[in-house]
Every structure is written in structure tokens, then in C-alpha cells.
Subunit: 191 residues, 2 copies
């Protein structure tokens, strides 16, 4: 093959690779529109209120997750390889389901802020899940500045996170936080 | 703007359009991997056995469908516009769900064979749903040659369609078809 042939072949390979890359990016947004979940959860940790992350007695958990049955687990490993963050976990099933479930999860704050959120800003979702993503991003922006360590900041996060993923309003948690006094026992907070 | 500028601008617009098109194609495959369904169903029509399509007393129904809640219905119209076939239907909900459901459906045989199947052959699914798609295509190939109008052909279709979409085996239907005699009463076939 002459040098021109090599050059032309390299060019067409590069074009094919670029085409495959764009289709894969599109596939990821479509698959996440269907199967992905951006969630903010609030976990009572009253016994750990003396530690930095739990001063309000409530831990804020953030997660981007995609679940699939065992037969499609390769797709989750593909997501993990593509993003370079997160991990695939097995949720065993012993009921009448025919296969175990797997979840690709990204929970680390820096991975969400530096990798996951920028990707979905560049390549937006097309379903109503885009609304959940925007709320998720807003919560992470609050958390990035440690706002969640004060009751006032935590209330703002709870208010943004309300109604994400068809959740019920967090009325009881908001009531407790608004009545918050430091060192109060929040072990009975139902959230 | 000089002609070179216009030319360059046209080129970059064309490149952007091509990029958007590939991302949209990828999105469709990812979304269908998550939310789509290729199904073959068998419907008793013993009273119509004198009509061409129902000679075995069983009608074969084929459908490609994608369902979404009302808030994401625009995605379904986007699919309809992209493929240029099928329609979006409303499934009203009056239980405790928060929104009505919509379904984008393609049922016409020629639309499936000429539009939907070639698309997913060119841009394959990545989950185990690809297995369902391949069985769906195989069934349509049988139907294309009118094999489904004879008990022998219909048995082959039922055997291929078995285990699609986690379905139960069609044991009872297969037993009836294997024992088939023309004009026998199949009104009690439980399928």
C-alpha cells in the first residue's frame, strides 16, 4: 500500500472511530433517559453528629445509578469504562425473578462533579429525567460549598431535591430541620 | 462575509448536523434498549377462520413499541418523526399513577420490515434486548412469506417467539397447533 493509501485508510478509520464515538455518546444519553437515576437521599446519622459530614444529624447521599439484569451487565461495564469512575455492584435476587440485578453506581462527589455532571451538561437528556438531572446538579453545587453541613443549607437542598424521581414531599424532614437546635436528638426523624 | 467564509460556515454547519444526527441515532438505540419492546403475540380469532389472515384460527400480531409518561411524550413524537412510520397512542391512567402513559407503536408489517428492522440492523442494540429483536426479525421473515397462514409455519413462529421478553413458554398453543385439524374449534385455546 502506498503512503497515500495508508493516509486515506487512517483518515477513514479516524472518521469511523469518531462516528462510533458519537453513536456511543448518544446511546449513553438514551439509555440513561430510560434506565438511569439521579438521586439525593437523606440518611439519619444522629450518633455521628460530632463528625464533620454529619453535623446536622443527617447525611446527604448522592448517587448516579443505572440498573440492568445479569444478561445485560456488559453494558454497565461499558459505562464504567467510558466514564472511568464508579463501579458495578451485584444485587442478588432470590425471589421469582429470572436473573440477578446489577447496578452501575457513581457516588463519589468529585466523580459526579468532574465527570458525570459535565457529560450530561454537554449531551443533555431528552425525557423529563432532564429535570431530575438539573435538580441533582443544583444539589451537588450546594454540597460542593459545604452548605449541607448547616441546617439552613440542608433545608435548601431538601427543597431542591423534593419531587425528584416522583418522590413524596419531605415534609417531616423539613419540619424537623426548620425547628433544628444543635445537639437535639433527631433519632426519631422519619425521612 | 466572503464566499470562503460562507463555504466554511456551511461546512461546519453540515458537520454539526451530522454530529447531531449520529448522537440522535445513538440516543434512539440506547432509549429503545431501555424502554423499547419488540413483541409477537398470538390472538385467537376462531370466528374469522374463513378470512385469509386467520386460517389457522390464530392471528399473529407484531409490534414495536416504546412507552413513556405524559411528561416525556415529546420523545415519542421525535421517534415517530425520525422513523416516519407508526403513531403515538394515549393509555389513560386513573389509578394512583401521577401521569397518563403514551406509547409509540409501529404495527404495520411493511413499516416494520422496511423501516424499523433495517434501522436496528444498521445500529444494533447493546443489551439482551438485541436477542428479542433478532427473534422478532426472524418471525417477521416467516410472516413476510405468509408462513403464518399454515399450522406448520405458525408452529415455527411460535417456537421462535418463545422466551422473547421473558414470556412463558407457549406450551398450550403449540400443543393445539400440533394437533391441528382444519375447521376444528380452537375457541378454547388458552394462549
Amino acid at each position: 500500500m502506498n503512503s497515500q493509501g495508508v493516509h486515506s485508510s487512517d483518515n477513514s478509520t479516524a472518521a469511523e472511530n469518531q462516528q462510533e464515538r458519537l453513536i456511543k455518546i448518544g446511546w449513553i444519553t438514551g439509555f440513561v433517559d430510560g434506565e438511569g437515576c439521579f438521586s439525593i437521599n437523606f440518611i439519619r446519622q444522629p450518633d455521628r453528629a460530632n463528625r464533620k459530614g454529619y453535623r446536622t444529624g443527617v447525611q446527604v447521599a448522592h448517587e448516579f445509578a443505572v440498573a440492568q439484569g445479569a444478561r445485560s451487565v456488559e453494558c454497565l461495564y461499558m459505562l464504567m469504562k467510558f466514564f472511568g469512575v464508579g463501579a458495578v455492584y451485584l444485587n442478588r435476587r432470590y425471589d421469582n425473578h429470572k436473573e440477578h440485578m446489577y447496578r452501575y453506581c457513581v457516588r463519589r462527589r468529585s466523580d459526579l462533579i468532574q465527570t458525570i455532571i459535565p457529560f450530561f451538561n454537554q449531551y443533555p437528556l431528552r425525557t423529563s429525567k432532564q429535570g431530575d438531572f438539573l435538580k441533582f446538579e443544583e444539589c451537588l453545587r450546594f454540597i460542593e460549598t459545604d452548605s449541607h453541613l448547616t441546617p439552613k443549607g440542608l433545608i435548601e437542598i431538601v427543597e431542591v431535591a423534593e419531587n425528584m424521581n416522583h418522590c413524596r414531599p419531605r415534609t417531616e424532614l423539613l419540619r424537623i430541620l426548620r425547628d433544628y437546635t444543635p445537639n437535639a436528638d433527631v433519632s426519631s426523624v422519619k425521612i
